[in-house]
């Protein structure tokens, strides 16, 4: 539970900026809080807001959540191998709610086997931080001076950068993929016609680019056979 405290504080700051954007997308305090409580995913919620703001379809919403949160499949796999095999399905079902980048990060540093109660303890602090931050962001976003809101808007992106840059240092193929993504994604904001699709539905654009770029890299630079992905991330 102690390990959950820094996460809760960080969540609070980031979800606050998420809340400000939720308000812009037309959500009420209650809606934003329920969204954060039930989804508990920064990148997913962030993409969802752009879909809600532009009135995208439910299908594109489902697809965007699936693609953006695909990484949880890997984390969930990795954690599944770290909890005691006799752990009940009920515990597994409850624990899986807590698969987030940050809780995964602290969980894999615990000695094996991972106790379900470790996850619950971390969640007990992190979830209220996340939900309260979102709710306050919606409620108080327009009370804060512009320059503070402007600065807070960068928080989410800062968090994203803190995920893809360290891995780029570890693996030059990831670095290459990140660089390619930056260039292609920026280009799509300027190329005529593609630019219009992006404007109409940023969520769809994210899905298309993610699938295409990841697929090309998976074909060109497959991971090494003995280089097990779940094991890899579990070792960090």
């Amino acid at each position: 539970m102690r390990d959950g405290l820094p996460i809760a504080l960080g969540y609070f700051a980031v979800s606050f900026s998420l809340g400000i954007q939720a308000k812009d997308a037309g959500m009420s305090v209650l809606q934003a809080a329920v969204m954060s409580l039930t989804s508990l995913t920064s990148a997913g919620e962030f993409a969802a807001l752009s879909i809600i703001a532009t009135g995208g379809s439910y299908i594109s919403m489902a697809l965007s959540q699936l693609i953006i949160n695909l990484r949880y499949i890997l984390m969930s796999f990795a954690l599944s191998q770290r909890i005691a095999p006799e752990t009940s399905s009920l515990h597994r079902t409850c624990m899986s709610y807590g698969v987030t980048d940050e809780i995964f990060g602290i969980s894999v540093k615990q000695p094996k086997p991972l106790s379900p109660f470790y996850t619950y303890g971390a969640l007990l602090l992190a979830v209220p931080g996340w939900v309260a931050g979102t709710a306050l962001g919606v409620a108080a976003g327009n009370i804060l001076p512009d320059n503070i809101v402007s600065a807070l808007n960068l928080a989410l992106y800062g968090m994203f950068i803190a995920v893809f840059i360290p891995q780029s240092r570890e693996d030059k193929h990831v670095a290459f993929a990140v660089l390619a993504s930056m260039i292609i994604s920026t280009a799509c904001a300027f190329i005529p016609f593609i630019k219009d699709i992006r404007k109409a539905s940023p969520g769809t654009m994210i899905i298309i680019l993610t699938v295409l770029i990841s697929l090309v890299f998976a074909i060109l630079f497959p991971i090494k056979e003995n280089d097990d992905v779940s094991q890899d991330s579990a070792e960090k």
Partner: protein, 102 residues
Amino acid sequence: MSNNIWIYITVMAVVTYLVRMLPMTLIRKEIKNKLLRSFLYYVPYVTLTVMTVPAIFSATRSTASAIAGFITALILSFFKKSMILVATVSCAVVFITELFIH
């Protein structure tokens, strides 16, 4: 198309939860397919990058402060600082930059 926000929230919750829950409860053996594993390996990094660039440059009041924050985040995360630290310090840099230009 006018859509209900509550339905959006429900769709999000269901999909996100299933993505987390199914691997942990049902699939206990490893994925063998190399292409699929490689694809899953790249997805998180690509999707986060695509979401960040170029959107980050219009996230703040001025492109200049966004660039300052972006560069700060790049440098800090290159030295493997924690997510929270990267996020807070980059916000602070945006704030300070804007003090100078506004």
